[in-house]
Amino acid sequence: MSQILHVTINGTSKEIAIEPDEILLDILRREGYKGVKRGCKEGTCGTCTILLNDKAVKSCILLAAQTENCSIITIEGIGTRDNPHPIQQAFVDEGVVQCGFCIPGMILSAKNLLDNNPSPTKDEVKMALDGNLCRCTGYSGQIKAVLAAAAVMRGEK
């Protein structure tokens, strides 16, 4: 029994036909938001992270039907190649991306932190990223990048 889901994705209102058993991750990928990655699909790795009403959540443990009338932001909604978000730019500048699979989720977790806490400590950054697994890098670069992006977003650089 399909139903119509009303959501705003990256600022655009959408009406999407969904089945009751579909998770948001699958809907977003079907709608073309391929920056939302499918990793563990059980709420651990964090690569499917999106912002739901401005809070970071894992879209693999969320039924699409739970998000009626919600605002969703994916990695596609926060910056472009020509006009990247300061966090994206900091990740490039610090050279912290290897395979890249974890990065969309990690950047959105970082955005969730910096939107609420413009001057986080290193420990606060670590805690904000602790739901995003990266198997290539060892995290130290990403933590540096988030701190650098925080300074840019505060207008200090």
Binding site: E22, T49, C60, I61, L62, S109, G131
Partner: protein, 288 residues
Amino acid sequence: MYSNEILSPTSLKEALAIKDQYVNDIFPLAGGTDVLVMVRNKLGVWGESPVLLNLNNIPKLNFILETDSNIEIGPLVTHTQLLESPIIQKHVPALIKAISIIGSPQIRNLGTLTGNVCRASPAADTLATLYARDTQVQIQTVNNSKLVPIKEFITGPGQINIPENGLVTKIVIPKLEGYFGDYISLRQRYALSIVVVSIAVEALLSKDRSRMDDIRISLGAVAPTIVRATKTEILLKSNAFTKNLIEKAEKMIIEESRPITDIRSNKRYRKAMTGVLLGRILREILSH
């Protein structure tokens, strides 16, 4: 297949009517951070792709209220909302400590306190403090509403005592004026991990600080449910509060706890740690 059907009522009355009609064939869904993992992995009753009762379209179930003697928390309140709530920060600081290390930020943004209670895990971070506070759970059916003490509501690992047509509609935490509250948990690491052993304490010192007028100690992950260390509580209440008494209490709580060995830790270590953690908290109180 996650669900055959999902029903999304927009009022509590409607939700209770649906639960009354479907009884054991429908499962309430709030955050879903645990439910959807169990459905996906086909664990227990969740393997049958159950009909889900989505409560997220009932905004009235999302509240944190302060009354004269209690804090009342609605079933849709997420862990993040509790962390950010001045009411909880002021009145239940030990709960803030417990919630701040649940899962990951993304889990805390979706998962709810009521979900954590209804999941009834002996290792749940929030439960130790809720037991120390003698928290009550409000259960509602179409024509009835009652408050049940949390230790009667949770009957075993994953087991709760609720009528087949009932929904949890409120968590009621009594205020404790003048108490010192603390929570410590040991885990294998501090991200995305589950408790190895945890302890929550709520203590009220006498005015001259020589005795404990009241103390509640609860332990997590050492029994099929959270348990209160009642013998140790009595020992601490019936003697002068000194370094010597703390040492006796450490020994007694080790005797009193009955943990098991499982994938996360072993019996001997868990037993020993109940003493260490209690000692840490009591020395902190003594030194203040």
